[in-house]
Symmetry: C2
Subunit: 388 residues, 2 copies
């Protein structure tokens, strides 16, 4: 049900093949000292780095760089980044990369002037920001996380074997996001499809929750159908602009708070996937795909109507003469066929899970209460074994 | 295709049964002198007026009132409102009402300090704002126009027999919108269903345009299915919170620029409907319903694939063994059945159109070029005759 909520999403999205041309105008709204954050250097190979540096120079900015953000950014790296931002008194943070880079940039923006240990404050105690926030903008090169239009940030603590996400308020949302679908063309296929599944999982985590039939469910069904349609095209031809642009747009709207309205939201697939990630450092989207079918098959009996609706409205399953559970199972089989077609991990063994680490992963899995069933740690173990 | 565009929608939406409690906090962000704009006084009967006045007083505001905004606000009224705003140097405009009241408030906000005749500048010459803009906020009491989260404003000039809309930029969007579905419960049924059809028409004007298969089409199919589902419930029980809240939410998202992305957009039904409105002063949504089926039947042969997709994905038509046009026609028949079920005007004769004024209405109809066919004035006449 659409009860009491506030929707406010001030991120300005500049979309399309010419989107980067809008970067200068946005940068001009902020101060002179810019911290440029990026990942492993692929943006240097593609020429994007040079274009961004040229724009920064044309805007008269002083640039301090923080490169080498890893796929699962760590709390150790975060402390270093916060120090760089603070010591250089940066006025603005420009993140160029995928979700990890933007997640990390947001974490730096609230950690530079944080009077406590940011890992402890934000990711263990889930506290609100109480210090000055450095504004962030981004140029997106990989789609999936939706980090470009939300307050989410996931950080990994290797010592504690924990990968935890914090959702910050709208004052931490990127001020702008440059979304050029062509910038995603050079991404390796494995990362591309992992991103596709990450998007699908974001939608499903929200869709499979709550008992009401509200507009968010209908919007999500539309987003899912568009995603499935375009993902099949993009896998055959990664240079198909229309498919890649649709997927970039879906990724943003899948996780910018819109479709969560009226939903309790589940996030158990992400909790299990993140626990796997903390153990194996596997690609985020692949950890999600590896456990999704096992999880949803386990959960199906708790909400057969919703799973049947999913099968019919998203996968086109014909419900005639079948029980709700049969229809729901057919939908999950169709989902499995799609996952095989695009080439994501189908089993958790593919992302490094072995019998011996299952108890540890299950123990590290945060248990959420927004889905159709509140799991026990034993049930998480059971799902992980079924997913092997 | 999702080409180059900017999406930025800064309106803060405060939704739900308790939404009005958020009004004070928003008002406190602006200056002391508030212009309160409303319509025919129904807000006094429902008690909403007293609640708003109490909040304004609690915030220490000086209030100047501008009541009596008519369903189709006129250019004469606009000149009066602009004068009130200017002479009282108001810091903020609070609109309490439906789309007409909010449309009018936005027009006042850009006309108070306009150095030219606002009707001529904005609605005849379609010029951008070049003067100071007074910020606007709103409390919505009737859904349909989507005016609460966009820059649209429709003004009628009776002398010139013209009803014209201007779409202003994001600096004219309401700063906030209070969306309490319960405030719409007291609306007379005729106005309620006219609003439902206005929403449907907003979506269809965008859906039936362009040749590409993009995510916006999928989102719109979801919005339409949710609207149809909830409208049927609301007509049987106008006090059904879930149905009314879904419809309020759909109305906002149908016309806040999101689903237009990648679409050329048509708007011919609105152009014909507005021309009828300028002649008959009929309820906006009813003028749209009265001509929609005649218009879409006329246009169907130009885009049979899209009409067939509409029939299948929105109305559940079984396409087997039928031509695209047959499937499309079946979809329009289903749409007609739905329109009869909710009780909107099915013929233009019901909204005051007669043979003798058809040439005048057709001549007053602005011809747009974003749909599947660029009409001639003769074709508009033909459609109007078919709709009688």
């Amino acid at each position: 049900m659409l009860g009491n909520f506030v929707y406010c999403n001030p991120t300005k999205l500049i979309f399309g093949p010419d989107a980067l041309e809008g970067l200068g105008e946005e940068l001009n709204k902020y101060g002179k000292r810019v911290m440029l954050i990026y990942g492993g250097g692929s943006i240097k190979k593609t020429g994007l780095y040079d274009k961004v540096i040229k724009t920064l120079a044309a805007c008269g900015k002083t640039v301090v760089e923080d490169a080498g953000v890893m796929p699962n950014p760590t709390s150790v790296k975060l402390d270093e980044g916060a120090k760089i931002a603070r010591e250089n008194s940066v006025d603005f943070i420009l993140a160029v990369g995928g979700g990890s880079v933007i997640d990390y940039a947001k974490a730096v923006s609230v950690s530079a002037y944080c009077e406590y240990d940011p890992w402890e404050k934000y990711f263990i105690r889930f506290e609100d920001v109480s210090c000055k926030i450095i504004p962030v903008g981004c140029v997106l090169t990989m789609v999936g996380t939706g980090s470009e239009m939300n307050g989410g940030s996931v950080i990994t603590n290797h010592e504690q074997k924990l990968k935890i996400g914090h959702v910050f308020g709208e004052n931490v949302f990127p001020k702008f996001a440059i979304l050029n679908p062509e910038l995603t063309f050079t991404l390796p296929k494995k990362q591309m499809v992992a991103g596709f599944f990450d998007i699908m999982s974001h939608i499903l985590e929200q869709y499979f929750s709550g008992s009401d039939d509200n507009t968010s469910d209908y919007i999500m069904e539309g987003l899912l159908r568009s995603l499935i349609h375009s993902a099949k095209i993009a896998v055959r031809n990664p240079l198909d602009y229309e498919a890649r642009s649709n997927i970039m747009w879906i990724a943003t709207w899948a996780l910018n708070t819109l479709v969560a309205k009226g939903k309790s939201t589940d996030w158990m697939v992400h909790m299990i996937g993140q626990a796997i990630g903390a153990y194996t450092d596997a690609t985020h989207g692949m950890t999600l795909s590896a456990v999704s079918l096992a999880y949803y098959r386990y959960i199906l009996p708790c909400a057969p109507e919703k799973f049947a609706r999913y099968a019919v409205n998203v996968w086109g399953v014909n419900p005639q003469g079948k029980s709700l559970e049969e229809v729901g199972e057919e939908g999950l089989r169709e989902m499995g066929r799609f996952m095989e077609e695009i080439g994501v991990a189908m089993h958790s063994s593919e992302v490094g899970v072995t019998e011996d680490i299952i108890p540890g992963i299950a123990k590290a899995t945060l248990i959420m209460d927004g889905g159709y069933k509140i799991l026990t740690t034993e049930e998480v173990e059971e799902i992980l074994r079924a997913s092997l």
